[in-house]
Subunit: 466 residues, 2 copies
Amino acid sequence: MIKQDTIVALATASGSGAIAIIRLSGDDAIAIVDAHFKSVTSSKSLIKQKTHTIHLGHIVDGKKEIDEVLVSVFKNPSSYTGEDVVEISCHGSSYIQQEIIQLFLRNGCRMANAGEFTLRAFLNGKLDLSQAEAVADLIASDNEASHQIAMQQMRGGFSSEIAKLRSELLNFASLIELELDFSEEDVEFADRSQFKSLVDRIILVLKRLIDSFAVGNVIKNGIPVAIVGEPNVGKSTLLNALLNEERAIVSDIAGTTRDAIEDEISIGGIGFRFIDTAGIRDTEDVVESIGIKKTFEKIEQSQVTIYLFDASVISNTVEKSESVKQELEKIKNKYPQKPLLIIANKIDTLNDIQLAALQNQIEGVQLLSAKTGFGVEQLTNSLLNLINTGALRNNETIVTNSRHYDALLKAFEEIQKVKYGLDTGLSGDLLAIDIRQALYHFGEITGEITNDDLLGNIFANFCIGK
Amino acid sequence: MIKQDTIVALATASGSGAIAIIRLSGDDAIAIVDAHFKSVTSSKSLIKQKTHTIHLGHIVDGKKEIDEVLVSVFKNPSSYTGEDVVEISCHGSSYIQQEIIQLFLRNGCRMANAGEFTLRAFLNGKLDLSQAEAVADLIASDNEASHQIAMQQMRGGFSSEIAKLRSELLNFASLIELELDFSEEDVEFADRSQFKSLVDRIILVLKRLIDSFAVGNVIKNGIPVAIVGEPNVGKSTLLNALLNEERAIVSDIAGTTRDAIEDEISIGGIGFRFIDTAGIRDTEDVVESIGIKKTFEKIEQSQVTIYLFDASVISNTVEKSESVKQELEKIKNKYPQKPLLIIANKIDTLNDIQLAALQNQIEGVQLLSAKTGFGVEQLTNSLLNLINTGALRNNETIVTNSRHYDALLKAFEEIQKVKYGLDTGLSGDLLAIDIRQALYHFGEITGEITNDDLLGNIFANFCIGK
């Protein structure tokens, strides 16, 4: 192992909190902290302390005491990075955080780059590349589904699936390459029919993984839902009603306030991004027609369309009800494949006869009162049913990372060449080349095959301190 | 000791970071975490682990894995609060923080109130009241001076000074009260001349502490400096020049970005708040005269006034130079006691003859070029010299807390009554009452004397998680 310089960074969120954690990693991490640490409880130097122990004392710069801190010592290889790691838990003022980091920068540390702690963990074999990527996903996860996928990937679920395919394929590749050594004797070490069935299995798995990317992408980025509806039909009341169902769970936890979610709402653990649009009724008005164009653009970008209208208005005038029907026709004609939910809001203002008339006039309408909450649960169920969350529930591997997706597509292409080669009785040496290519792309995912550029790209997206 | 319920809160700054710390304290803290923790490295339960040890594993909710975490165990009394404490270092996503806190809330914890961890530390005798208050000051400190004072107070510097006075006074109080028991025999256990000299000494110390509050207040809240100057004389360039002197130190530390300081600048470790004002030249204009009134108001609120003008303009026209002189006269007349720094900016545009003329015309002018940096250091020295930082440099106790200040004032009043009583030969029983009162106010500072309302007020100002 080459000598690793020691890096330092703030590991907790920036800003003021009760405490903050400053993390150091590298060959001199413990010695550097020890030189500026006065223990309260022990006369032993930190270097002599056991791994995974915590020590109360002061960080001092010469005679100046910077803070009373807890120092956690992790010795290589039993640390996050696999190197010697020290975590300093100090009081959470920005001033103190800065003073301590500066002290270490003046005394043998350098500032960590984005993701450098995790990069070192990868380089030291503590996790593979797809697990390292899952760390960033985990930190970015803001709903149950994306969190669950990141956790599964971090635990190595995805890697082990890829690694299994890779090792089986590698086994056959070796046999075929062995045949080449004995090519003059015309032997077949690799049983072609067994190999064919393996290739078929790999194709199936790859297809499933590739297909899962659509779901994975949706889960990671949230599902865009266009709400088409004129002003005052109750769009914001509806969003609040959807939001409240979730909020109720967390309302009693002071201090863990979520960021204002605005139009992104988590329903059943999946993020939905609601995009507000104007109506699309017929018009001669130029300004209006620009609005209509935009509405269509937003429907285009969405995966689901909710058409929301005011039930009370529609049951009073025939005209209005016709205009709703026309708008719905237009949307259906333009986007026949796109799921469309038709929601009549404010049904609390209607009597039973009016309700029956409404359901008669508009086919497939769902009744809702954002005010009373009636129909909100039915709507959330409809939304969830539209998304194929089967894979998620069955705990299957879901691909969320576009780099993995690309590698899987390439591997798929190569494997299909292998299959074609087998079917057409391609010679072993040519077959071996295609297999090697497929193996290469598998290796890219887990990081057995890598290069500095790739690593640079991946870890640049991490935050500093991770 | 009564059974303490277990409290939980996020201890690090809210928002997303690489890691976050969730802290639990109370009788069941370790058991509650243990019930939802699957260790990776040890089969022993957390309850059987030693204090100050760290354990890698997963936080689980039934079969659901919430996160891979490090759990730190602190056993009573060797913890911050003096109770059993567990700190969970999890991945820093808000979603994960929330999930873990919710899990513990559902399983025997309650959400901690603001400052409740430190309140418990106080109630369990881990720190006295003034030390507890210093914790909040330390977290809020944003410059070297306020940090240094808070550290000194947290280390008990202030408390021990008060405690020493209190114990000496208590000693005499006991002797005098003993006299009362033997009042018929007319004995004097308490040597009156020794007592007088003690009272004189206490008065001296109290005076010094009370006086230090002015400096302490300034250091804690920053020193307000009014900059009087018309537009375009270079106010913002000057602020940037002052700022750059400090910024240079931290510029190479990515990831530790300070919050935008705007007009608050730390000079020599002391915070200065610069308040921008318009000029104050004579005018008939109503709008202008409102501006002038505001300028005077801001000078009023400040401790220092900087009068900034454009040197290049003044050396061209006699008129302009007269107007500057008049404005200076006005300020000096209105605020004869307030320190005034007269700064001619943009002197890089002047030749030597013009410079000499300028210095001749305006008494006490300091030459400066915010652009080239000339004179900036002289200005910062002038600002620092205006503040009595002697006490700070001599490491003397400085009072920054208005609650302490109030208690010291009251103690001072009582001690003067005692002195008067001694001088006039007041009877022992009356003397004893005044001494008790003084002792009471000393006790208020360190928390020997306290009540729920007072504690409530103090700890409500803490953040949750501290």
